[in-house]
């Protein structure tokens, strides 16, 4: 039977840009491994498939708030030792690494975690990241995606370079069967890798591949390789469009679309009443420094917003055709204005938490209803939860929304598998 899947997307003090300013935030603990371990334990108590780390290669604007902190692969290794069932997904970019290192670290993590590792493949975006890795700027998108495909092929070949039964450990004979180690002999446009890998195959055979395909190139990469997809969908309609498009592309690659979980990002604000939930949202929105947020909005809109009244409705904006800047975010802003009629402060809050991702505000029943609706109408197989504030918002979700979904038979009441591949219902690829 089809069941919902949840990942906990871990990000600093939470996904709201002002989360760290909240009195309940853990801003003092961002380099403390126990903070991440406790969050993973919470998600594990909620029977989630996995925790999920984004990643980036530059410092951002640390005056604005924390961006990156502990490095994901080392963090997941530590977390693996204080959790037992939950999957552990790390973003790793294909633009700055040697694929041998990535294949090896992920295989090592798969052994350390007893089969709970996933890899979220990204190609990175910012020149500041490239400039930390001996490049002048980011390669163009088509080149990055071509490199990503070759990178994944190499990593997969390295994972498959030891047969599952290659290790004999025969004290009177051979440690490994040399006929069951396969050279990779890859010579491609971006990489040359002889192989085999220097670590045996992990419990999952291959760590699970995730991808967040948004652009056409991204969608095609996801359709070709991804076993789980982190999607951006502002509302159910957009979710359905994306879901249908991706499942079609997956089938077009000769793969079974039912095996690939599509999990949009989801920001939730919960309250015993809808008004209480809205008050929760307002409380954290209130923490955004107005000058800084308006300056950011000015950039997004290509006009000076510095004298806008925070508690008045957002003024009318020109149609997309008259806006010269990046279209994606502008379209999201127009959509938020059209559907939510927000004040300026509310718009800043929406943009500060999840941006174009779906935001659900309401009682646990209302949020469960909305989740069920997305799930049953082909908009999502589950969600990558983006709690605005950690750990509170995820604890509340697990305490109050998860039991409703369980009662409705939409969500597991116990883990039935011990690997991430198992949680997702994916087969283990043999070699």
């Amino acid at each position: 039977m089809r069941e919902l899947h949840f990942n906990l997307f871990l990000h600093g003090c939470g996904h709201h840009q002002a989360a760290w300013r909240h009195p309940a935030s853990a801003v003092e603990q961002l380099t403390d491994i126990t903070y991440y371990e406790r969050l993973a334990q919470t998600a594990e108590a909620g029977l989630f498939d996995a925790v999920f780390f984004a990643d980036g290669q530059s410092v951002g604007a640390p005056s604005a708030g924390p961006l990156w902190s502990l490095e994901p692969l080392t963090t997941l290794a530590a977390m693996a030792r204080n959790t037992t069932r939950i999957g552990l997904i790390s973003t790793v970019s294909t633009t700055f690494h040697s694929p041998f290192h990535v294949a090896r670290m992920l295989a090592s993590l798969d052994h350390i975690s007893h089969g709970r590792i996933g890899w979220n493949v990204v190609t990175s975006m910012f020149d500041a990241e490239a400039q930390n890795h001996s490049m002048d700027g980011m390669p163009p998108s088509d080149k990055r995606y071509a490199q990503a495909a070759e990178f994944i092929d190499v990593v997969t070949a390295l994972w498959d370079s030891w047969a599952d039964d290659a290790v004999l450990a025969d004290r009177n004979g051979l440690f490994a069967d040399p006929t069951k180690l396969y050279p990779v002999d890859h010579v491609g446009e971006h990489f040359q890798v002889a192989g085999p890998l220097n670590i045996s195959r992990g419990p999952q055979g291959r760590p699970v591949l995730f991808q967040a395909g948004a652009s056409k190139a991204g969608r095609n990469l996801a359709a070709r390789y991804a076993e789980g997809i982190y999607a951006v969908a502002y509302d159910q309609t957009q979710g359905q469009e994306y879901y249908a498009d991706l499942k079609t592309r997956i089938a077009g690659q000769g793969r079974n679309p039912a095996t690939v979980a599509i999990m949009p990002g989801l920001v939730t604000y919960l309250g015993s009443t809808e008004a209480e939930a809205r008050a929760q949202q307002a409380e954290i929105d209130q923490l955004l420094p107005a000058t800084q947020s308006l300056a950011q909005l000015s950039t997004f809109l290509g006009q000076d917003c510095s004298d806008w009244d925070l508690d008045m409705p957002v003024p009318d904006l020109p149609p997309p055709a008259e806006f010269a800047g990046p279209q994606g975010r502008y379209a999201t802003i127009l959509r938020i204005i059209e559907t939510e009629r927000p004040t300026v402060r509310q718009l800043l809050g929406r943009l500060a938490a999840g941006g174009g991702h779906c935001t659900m505000v309401g009682t646990p029943e209302q949020v469960a209803d909305a989740i069920e609706c997305w799930f049953s109408t082909g908009a999502a197989d589950g969600f990558n939860l983006m709690p605005p504030l950690l750990p509170g918002a995820i604890e509340e979700f697990i305490d109050r929304v998860v039991p409703i979904l369980q009662r409705r038979g939409l969500y597991r009441t116990a883990y039935t598998a011990s690997t991430l591949r198992g949680h997702l219902g994916l087969e283990r690829p043999s070699v």
Copy 2:
């Protein structure tokens, strides 16, 4: 007061090539993180400075025995969570990585471990390693060492790119003080790195740098950067020569030689009598497959040894001038023959465990005497212990040799510091 330093050099089932064949070996556990954790806990019970991982980037000949298994950085992250005081040193090569990744992972590990991380800098040696990283073969030694120096400079600059007090975490103000984050702006022959790093400074400021300088270029690199040195010294005379040379080179760099611990590799076989210790050594030597070892010896000596009688003395060998192959190992072999008059099997055993490293065989008192002698005559500040068989040989060393050294006032009876830098008596560099 000057005290001995010990690291436990972790390597598969032990440093003897045949260790994995021993009935007591953990050959089935080489991908089991608890095996490494228990070894680190053992070394911690012995109050060692650190555990130490070598590393390589190719698979070796897995039919001959296990070579590499879990990847060191992910393994140390996990180990950090099940140990509290012992240092954790990983080898990372400067030939295949982007320095930003290395600086970041080591800084992250330093936070995760609360200041217990060390980096053993190597430049790697084998074409098979280069061929896994999109290179045709290894760059020449001078180029590798020039790149290593630049790599270390960049990594150090990245660690220093956040002032110690850069993080404010002021909920009503700034997360970080922008005037205390420093760009790196490195443009060198091998790397371009803008900086700053995307993680704050770790508890040690900079993880501790280790190096194993053997060649002239290696010695100079060690003299310039290393805060601990893993040395190769066959006997005390060679140890003294190396020690004096390195301490002079360190002083020549304007650094204080007393702060840099020189720790030769050390293989020990213990018994209640010397004969019992020799029997222990013979037992494991006996496990070497004769054909394979003689074939390897033929390569080392440049002549066919396949019909040599294992239990007869090694036949006379031509002087170095008449040997056309690599001189270093040949000189070691001549030295072993000259000083130990071994049978062929004994020579194979010596080469199979530690090679040119010092080997001490005897009672705990005898081994403690030898260690004290090296320590007090300027041959060593401590040792990088290379137990022939794990975990047995290190447990025995800690149970039987350590207490003697403690009674003699040569070795700590409790940890007095909580960081690796502290164990080594090194100051924390401020920024």
